[in-house]
Symmetry: C2
Subunit: 289 residues, 2 copies
């Protein structure tokens, strides 16, 4: 049981966590914090949080669980604002989509990574953002990856694990470097490709007509290009090295396909498309099972 | 009213057209044709077609509307097999995703493009294929692009238009070259990118784990990579020039994003992501309106 949960950054991710924990009866009080009073008031009106503070030091005071749900670029500022204000029994975690970068930010802000800080990442979300889009079922049967360090308190890790399980998630642990490589492949690269495609098409001369003839496949393919640009700018900067590696890899492979088209090499195209379809169908079978 | 409709290639596209026209009472008899007796028998059992022929000459004999629904690479063979067997009042159309290539195939097979041939392309489909996946509502409010040539009979074009409208579609006409450029951008390039991404990830060392941590965004983004590989090989070969142009364009733009990440250029990333989100949100507003 969490007595006082502090959510810093009450949007889709933080708001849905608060809703899920309230529904599960897993926390007594939820304090929201953030920069926009308007947004925090909406969160109160929606029943997502009990009250809010705009001063981060005030917000974390007395909280036994602090979850930082701000864009990656804002993490270090938050850590600096709360250090020295945390209670003795606090557990601190975050939801950032890249972990190496957050760990470095914690190290810089606190001098060394605190043993009560458990880096985390829920693999959940939609292309929506904002507390209005939050809902308690967001984490149902979704993965949450924790990336504790050798020095992280096992007690703290256990409490973060319990929190996410109470919210309906399946929790796994992973090395932060490995997390960042896996997420670069499955999430960060696809977002980059989708943004890049829509931008390319939007800059064509006849872009209005182009979009007019786009069908359902295009709608699905580009859904993630409606995600929050600030969040994804921060992810690209924070997970730079792993993303660059994957982008290089992807451009190389795409150039092979381009050469196959140029050379009328139907067999090569068929081989790649067949392998991809087979991998994708296997993935869907697994993930829906 | 179509008296005898002949569908050559009874899969998702041809089967759904037959179902829609039967439901609308817009045709009296549907004859299916294709290479697989097993598939054609399923189509009879499902009530999609009345009867079938495996000899294409027999199949088109006496039909007043012939719709060719085979992969682009099989079009010319079909045209060769049916020429000389068509009735005097026939209208011939196709559903190929690239039009220039089909028109060339018709020219080679018939000596010149027949005035009763109306090249067409319904902008509809799912990642499923096969007659089992067909359903009468597939074309409801979807676009069908016809690309008649200057020499195409206006009467024939009118009858193909009527057919698609009876199936629920909105029919527009377009120059075939322009069609091929627009579809390269909105459909062919996205499919290539999705196939390429899944193939890239499937060939990573830890590919099982990679797919395990893929979330909903990945599932949507890669849905089109579950499409029929033969169909898409044929599209890449058939619309080669327009696709190559778009792939070049895309790789150039992606390299700009890669450089922005490499150079920690957050402003450039934010600009591109914001423009893409805005274009995509506009497109969705329009297409759902």
């Amino acid at each position: 049981m969490i007595e006082r949960l502090c959510i810093i950054g009450v949007g889709l991710i933080g708001g849905s966590l608060a809703r899920a924990l309230r529904d599960a009866g897993a926390c007594q009080e939820v304090v929201g914090a953030g920069r926009s009073v308007g947004n925090l008031q909406i969160a109160v009106d929606l029943g997502v949080i009990d009250r809010y503070e705009t001063d981060l030091g005030q917000a974390v005071s007395g909280a036994d669980m602090v979850v930082v749900c701000v864009p990656l670029g804002a993490m270090e500022g938050v850590f600096n604002a709360i250090k020295g204000q945390l209670s003795g029994q606090v557990v601190l975690t975050d939801v950032g989509s890249a972990k190496g970068n957050v760990i470095e930010a914690a190290q810089r802000a606190f001098g060394s990574v605190p043993d009560f800080f458990v880096p985390g990442h829920p693999i959940a979300g939609t292309e929506q953002s904002g507390v209005e889009a939050s809902f308690p079922g967001l984490y149902n049967n979704r993965r949450v990856i924790l990336t504790p360090l050798p020095g992280t308190s096992a007690l703290a890790t256990g409490r973060v694990r319990d929190m996410w399980e109470a919210a309906g998630a399946q929790v796994v642990s992973m090395n932060p470097v490995h997390h960042d490589a896996v997420l670069a492949a499955t999430s960060h690269l696809p977002h980059l490709l989708a943004y890049s495609l829509v931008d390319t098409l939007a800059r064509l001369d006849d872009n209005d007509e182009v979009f007019e003839y786009a069908a359902g496949g295009f709608r699905d393919f580009t859904r993630i290009a409606s995600s929050d640009p600030v969040m994804w700018r921060d992810i690209c900067l924070a997970n730079r090295d792993a993303i660059l590696l994957m982008v290089e890899h992807y451009i190389d492979d795409l150039q092979v396909l381009r050469e196959a088209i140029r050379n009328h090499d139907g067999q090569q195209l068929l081989d790649v498309f067949t392998a991809a379809k087979s991998a994708r169908d296997r993935f869907i079978d697994k993930s829906s099972g």
